[in-house]
């Protein structure tokens, strides 16, 4: 009794191993012929596999593309950036904050940090030639380190400098420069921008630059930069809120974070600073992306299981329709193992066909999605290889039971039918 019960899994194990090695030419040829003879049904049974493999490949590929697009923004900024945010803290009725000098000294006193910048949002509508500049540019008080950390490049002139102190100079983002040049300025350099009733002369114009979100919400194209000291004078009550810093080469983000926290702990006792490393954020995003991809793959796998059940159903029908054939093959000397291999081969061949079609369908679908969304097309080779592997696995897994059933048929009973 116990041996009989134990025999079943042993057969399964043996058959699953053998199914791979015994894709002999004769077997495969016979399988193809037999599947071709029930073409219509084979195709129907394949739909599940094709859709399953296809959707997994399309989903995984698209997921990778989306992940890549999302990461690009962050990685463009560099992975060595820290975003530092003041946590609003009041001590004995007074709000604690850091100063521009604290930021300057952060670089001098913390070897883990090579550059740091803070900025001040001045507000107000800058005007040119008596009219408001379109798109409502932002006015920021800044230093040259902000340009350095963000890799802002100049099209003409120079950036504002801490040496400008409170002189009324300004540097225009590409969008702002275009706007005033449309409004009649010949060379933008040297023109005057009116801000809160005072004139600021343009000393520099930036090249077009990407929006920086990480820790800054900086849109350089639509920004007017003025010297930080000058901004301080205009916006006297506006507190500093944030700092961006660049980590020294070779220093781990965790170590730099700790150094910054400890610096402010000593510098402004009681002030709490929240530090986020770009690398950590990127890692987190990447992990989330992986999870997302996995989720998509799991959803696709469900349709694969449905496909597998379709194949199993086809094989079960095939076995019961071919009882006479099975009986005859047994009569002329086929062992149970031969019968099992014949049917597993058939199921594997069927699923491989489905897998191949699925890979094509999946690649075509992701091409379509990428074209539609305007993303760069790429298809996950891993997913394609896995698709073919998984489909042959499904062939074995869902073919074993019907094949096992076929092999257990008694030859006389099978021949009588």
């Amino acid at each position: 009794m116990s041996t009989k019960r134990g025999a079943y899994p042993r057969h399964l194990i043996r058959a699953s191993g053998a199914a791979v090695t015994v894709l002999s030419r004769t077997n495969v040829k016979e399988a193809l012929a037999s599947l071709a003879s029930i073409r219509g049904r084979s195709i129907l049974a394949l739909v599940g596999i094709v859709v399953g493999i296809g959707s997994v490949i399309a989903m995984v590929s698209t997921g990778e593309v989306v992940k890549g697009e999302a990461l690009k923004q962050f990685e463009g900024l560099g992975t060595d950036i820290l975003a530092i945010r003041r946590v609003h803290t009041r001590v004995r009725g007074r709000t604690l904050n850091f100063s521009a000098a604290d930021v300057r000294d952060l670089v001098l006193e913390t070897p883990e940090i090579v550059a740091a910048a803070t900025w001040l949002d001045v507000g107000g509508d800058p005007m040119y030639a008596g009219k408001a500049i379109p798109n409502q540019p932002i006015v920021l008080g800044a230093t040259e380190s902000l340009a350095g950390i963000n890799g802002l490049e100049l099209a003409a002139g120079r950036f504002v400098s801490h040496l400008d102190l409170h002189q009324r100079f300004c540097v225009l983002g590409d969008g702002v420069a275009r706007a005033i040049s449309r409004a009649g300025a010949g060379t933008v350099l040297g023109e005057n921008i009116r801000l809160n009733g005072r004139l600021y002369s343009v000393v520099g114009v930036l090249r077009p630059a990407e929006t920086r979100r990480f820790g800054q919400d900086l849109r350089p194209d639509d920004t007017v930069f003025i010297p930080l000291e000058a901004a301080r004078r205009v916006a006297t009550d506006t507190p500093f809120r944030r700092i961006v810093a660049r980590i020294a080469p070779g220093v781990l983000p965790e170590a730099a974070t700790e150094a910054v926290v400890s610096y402010f702990h000593h510098r402004v006792p009681g002030l709490r600073m929240e530090v986020t490393a770009a690398q950590q954020l990127i890692d987190r995003m990447r992990n989330q992306g992986q999870l997302f991809t996995l989720l998509l793959a799991a959803v696709g796998s469900i349709s694969l299981i449905v496909g597998g059940v379709g194949v199993m159903n086809l094989m079960l029908i095939s076995v019961s329709e071919r009882r006479a054939e099975i009986g005859l093959r047994r009569a002329v000397g086929a062992r149970r193992r031969d019968i099992r291999q014949q049917f597993v081969t058939e199921s594997v061949v069927l699923c491989l066909l489905g897998g191949a079609l699925g890979v094509l369908a999946g690649a075509a679908a992701s091409l379509g999605i990428c074209l539609f969304a305007g993303w760069p097309f790429s298809v996950s080779v891993t997913a394609m290889v896995m698709g073919v592997g998984v489909s042959s696995g499904i062939g074995v897994a869902f073919g074993l039971y019907p094949a096992h059933k076929a092999s257990r048929l008694e030859p006389i009973a099978a021949l009588r039918s």
Partner: protein
């Protein structure tokens, strides 16, 4: 070559045990042409299945070429069927997807013979049954008699010791049936194979040198009637 000793076979149908074979003893020698007759349900098919190793007796001993069959496992039984026994059925049992040559060559596939050799031997076997010119035809392109010839080719391709034929002429007209019987006679006299035929037909039985009847689960053999292949 074949020796049955006190073979019994019973089936359990619900609570009732039905005795089909009740102690059958029988010898078949090479070159024998033996017919087995008997009313429907008398157990002649069961006897055939036991001789053909498709079924196992409840008790008794069965020797095939000196080997006792009851101790063999399923793989060994399959190998012995493949090597020593050829089957011919009333309904031919050809595989519809395969050509005549592929059908005839089927037993050799399970001997792991190389493809080219299988094909060559299949053509030879078809030639022996006069079907060489139909090698590429599928069963549905052949008449009943032609199909049965292909089935005979399949039965003899592996040079078995014994060919077991279950109503081989049952689905054929008398003339075609007679041709099949001619072939069996030649196999016995020329190839020294043994042929055992289960039949209802007195004409078929009359052409066999040995005749047996199964009645009440026992085999009664008539006295040997000497015949030559071209008689009857």
């Amino acid at each position: 070559m074949i020796r049955l000793e006190d073979i019994r076979k019973s089936y359990r149908v619900g609570p009732v045990t039905v005795e089909v074979l009740n102690g059958v003893s029988l010898d078949v020698h090479e070159g024998d042409l033996l017919s087995i007759m008997g009313p429907s349900g008398c157990g002649k098919s069961t006897l055939m299945n036991i001789i053909g190793l498709l079924d196992r007796p409840t008790s008794g001993a069965y020797f095939l070429n000196g080997r006792e069959a009851s101790g063999m496992n399923d793989d060994e039984v399959s190998a012995v069927r493949n090597a020593s026994i050829g089957f011919v059925f009333q309904s031919f049992h050809l595989l519809p997807r395969l050509t005549a040559a592929q059908n005839a060559g089927l037993p050799l596939i399970y001997r792991r013979e190389p493809e080219g050799r299988v094909r060559r031997l299949a053509l030879e076997a078809l030639d022996r049954v006069g079907m060489a010119d139909r090698a590429g035809h599928r069963p549905n392109q052949l008449s009943g008699g032609q199909q049965q010839r292909v089935a005979v080719a399949r039965a003899i391709i592996g040079e078995p010791s014994v060919v077991l034929a279950d109503e081989p002429t049952g689905a054929l007209d008398p003339d075609t049936g007679a041709e099949i019987m001619d072939m069996f006679e030649r196999l016995c006299s020329e190839q020294r194979m043994a042929v055992v035929i289960v039949t209802h037909s007195p004409e078929v039985s009359e052409r066999c040198r040995r005749r047996a009847r199964v009645e009440d689960g026992l085999v009664h053999e008539e006295g040997r009637v000497p015949t030559t292949p071209d008689q009857g």
